[in-house]
Subunit: 243 residues, 2 copies
DNA sequence: GGTTCTCACTTGTATTACACTTGTCTATGA
DNA sequence: TCATAGACAAGTGTAATACAAGTGAGAACC
């Protein structure tokens, strides 16, 4: 009976992953090693691995290796990432209005964070029930941004568009006075207190892929952090509208 | 099994920090020494340290060295509760100055949160290197407060004094303009932007036992939320001084 | 005593080099 | 169509090295 080798190998690897032998985050043996072990060519091993990649079980980075994906990740980040989702979830009619969309040279600070020179900068206003409640500026490496049309950005969040790449995020929150630009766009007085959140999102390789700055009018918004000693998982945190 | 050296080293250092071998505020060995000790290049040591810096565990000053930041701590609540601890940990001389200490009738809002009528209200100013950086007001049911003298409150944090009872906390962060009182006490201009954090701490039974309001000058402070899928350790979140 | 200078030591940053990995392509059989 | 073999491009982790720049402490000076 003739069977297809790479399906066999894929099945074998799949069971090894599911059995827990290959834990999430762990590196798989290199293609060369697997090829030697199963006594097949590297191409065949690759076919098997690509099959698993399509299933979302493993992923690879060039020059690094194949590794097992953990299931929880994208979800925990998803809850984090989409501030506008939280709005719609709480019954507020939320809209996105893209006011700027430009490929340009990154300024020094942005260049340092993202590690690239050319970036796509998108500026949006988010409205809740017609009133602006957030001014969002997102910087993204131009290379990644090319595949995103202005319409894409208008309709979906960056976290949706770049979904599978995102891995971790650091968010800093601080209070500041609204700049002239911000005051005008958010329809608040000049120098009114605003909540300024800056988030750096990184991919699996630790490379920063997204720099986002959210500016919220202080009197309208609240950042909530829930901390429970029982749950070790990342505390769910989110933005909340205040009345 | 293939592992990546700098992840190994980072894990090693992380555990040494958590075990208390490397106390908070302490200087780590220099990169050169670590490089010799682990028999890897300085670059590799750096990458490990930078990993830890991203996690908020350590930080470095050029020409000075790497030092442990604060509250590694197995109790996730401890890291949360003791903002002043984080200050001392990062090498800042932090002092507590109690300016008000009174048993009184709770106002409507406080009464609703704590579910009691009589409360102990304590107001403190926290200083960092002599300058005020936080104005803290704590409300606590009078019943619990009776066992706490003014001196207790001055010397220790509420989280230390009520330690074992605390179980979970909800923290809301918002931007606001400084009131006259706050501006005077924090030595900032009237209506300057401040970060206002309100935390409700509950005990094991779900009963609210502490209501705390922290007010930070916006230009001096930063709230950092780290969300990482790779680190199993407690997501370090905390307040960070900015320069 | 107080100020400035110097020097050892630290981190920050940039190179080059090398081994090893995945990504991709072509050619050859079964 | 499937598998093999080989070759090359490109990315990654580590090493070794060099230099810039900040820090702290003590020496030297006024």
């Amino acid at each position: 009976m003739r069977t297809i080798r790479y399906h066999e190998i894929a099945a074998n690897l799949r069971s090894r992953v599911h059995s827990g032998e290959l834990v999430s985050g762990r590196l798989l043996p290199s293609e060369a090693e697997l090829s030697k072990k199963y006594k097949v060519s590297r191409v065949t091993v690759r076919r098997a691995l690509e099959l698993l990649r399509d299933e979302g079980i493993v992923d690879a980075r060039q020059g690094f290796g194949w590794f097992v994906l953990g299931g929880t990740v994208s979800q925990s980040l998803a809850t984090l990432g989409t501030i506008e989702d939280q709005m719609t979830a709480s019954g507020v009619r939320s809209e996105r209005l893209v006011i700027e969309y430009a490929f340009e040279k990154a300024n020094k600070q942005v260049a340092k964070v993202l590690g690239v020179d050319q970036v796509l900068r998108v500026r949006r206003i988010n409205t809740a029930d017609g009133e602006p409640f957030a001014l969002v500026t997102v910087w993204c490496p131009a290379e990644l941004g090319r595949s995103l049309s202005r319409q894409d950005v208008e309709q979906s969040s960056f976290h949706e568009l770049l979904d599978r790449k995102l891995k971790s995020a650091t968010q800093t929150i601080t209070a500041d006075a609204a700049s002239a630009d911000e005051a005008r766009l958010l329809e608040i007085p000049l120098s009114a207190p605003v909540l300024r959140c800056e988030r750096v999102t990184k991919d699996a390789g630790g490379q920063a892929v997204l720099l986002a700055q959210h500016v919220f009018p202080g009197h309208k918004t609240n950042f909530v952090v829930e901390l429970s000693s029982t749950t070790k998982s990342i505390a769910p945190s989110g933005l909340r509208l205040v009345d």
